[in-house]
Symmetry: C2
Subunit: 229 residues, 2 copies
DNA sequence: TAGATTGTTAATCGATTAACAATC
DNA sequence: TAGATTGTTAATCGATTAACAATC
């Protein structure tokens, strides 16, 4: 084995890394040089052991009695995620959500640069949204090929999602970030990442109903206690 | 045990239910009455056994040799998620993402109704976004109390997130849907659901890098093969 | 040195997959 | 009836948590 200490990371770990990165950048801006897993755990209300295991996948090592050197850790996470280099992307569907993503500044720090939008709606074509051109859908394929764009973001209505994905695949897009609730048909060499708001809402809804039920149960219990007296 | 066949559902299962619901509604609109787990699995490219287990948590039973009766299944999932009743919510932060969420029609079918937005920016106050009033932040607490609002959506810049959460908690909000990358401090009787775009982007990025590495590895292998000849 | 903190190895937990019995 | 499909019980896999050794 060489000096490369990177290990295989599970999905759960990968999903947590951006939160660590966000916090570390904040700490770094506050002038901190070093942080312990225990300190991170306190802020993120997570488990210190889990944090050490998660950070281990980046290959960055901490020092016993000291903690992790923040600049090195930031660099290691960025490299692990590939966020140290910018990847250009096209977005299709310049509606509400599409516009929001075009205007989101946070992607810069995540190695993503959405450089243009596409839409089939003639009234949107030619506009600029947050400084980015909206081009006609029929230009997508050519532009992807010409500019060697690797990532496509889909924010169209559900009905159009598969059609857009097909064009992207044909044009040679390597990864699709899919914001529709549609399960896209795609060749297996194309990566599809589904970003589904309704999953998160489902968890919230169920937790809320469970809280209701727990409260009803308690109230019933109290009534029973009271009626006993 | 009574006739209630609902079982405890894991988080992973809950997150998949909206995708089933979406598909079932589509099939229903197409006039289908009945569907098998195998059919669903084919469309969603998932495992039929997993789908049967997932659906079991709703208490809805299928018929051997027939499959599931779609209208009953839709109803069961909606009830399980609490999406058969509408819950009203307030949104704070009428920026790009906030506006997109205010305009998103899909929430209607997920039992969520964002009835108003709040912002500290005077220039936004008084506007209407997608037919919804933008009110001043200093009205939030009173309105939450007066209207017994249970859900708060946070789409403000990171710096303001904790402050907004504190106001929501003080006002009696029961659940917060947090779209910022900030880990919110909150009492444990308040539900916080983090919706973190960067998690999904992290998974996409890593998968893309892994694909690159695999390709490089193969190309190196081919070069080696060629040089052997 | 002593003690705080990392990192590893083992144990537990939950989620997925497999095998198979039940049933229409 | 035969066979397709559900639903349950068991086995595997991955992720989290615990225990502890290594180290500065």
């Amino acid at each position: 084995m060489g000096p490369d200490k990177q290990k295989v990371a599970g999905i759960a770990t990968i999903k947590r890394l951006p939160a660590y990165l966000h916090l570390l950048r904040h700490l770094s801006e506050c002038g901190r040089q070093v942080v312990s897993s225990d300190h991170i755990a306190g802020i993120l209300k997570a488990d210190a052991i889990q944090i050490r295991k998660d950070l281990a996948v980046t290959g960055c090592e901490g020092k016993p009695r000291v903690g992790y050197y923040i600049p090195a850790l930031i660099k290691a996470i960025e490299e692990f995620l590939g966020w140290d280099n910018t990847t250009e992307a096209f977005l299709v569907g310049a509606g509400n959500l599409g516009s929001a993503l075009l205007g989101y500044k946070g992607f810069e720090r995540s190695g993503l640069d959405i450089i243009a939008a596409f839409d089939a709606d003639e009234s949107k074509v030619g506009q600029e949204i947050h400084g980015k051109q909206v081009l006609h859908m029929n230009k997508l394929s050519d532009m992807v090929k010409r500019m060697h764009i690797r990532i496509g973001v889909i924010t169209v209505p559900s009905e159009a999602a598969q059609e857009v994905a097909d064009v992207m695949v044909e044009a040679g897009i390597e990864a699709i970030w899919n914001f529709t609730p549609v399960s896209l048909d795609h060749p297996k060499n194309v990566i599809v990442q589904n970003e589904d708001l309704s999953s998160g809402l489902a968890v919230l809804s169920v937790r809320l109903s469970q809280a209701d039920e727990a409260r009803e149960f308690n109230e019933a219990g109290i009534r029973q206690e009271v009626s006993k007296v």
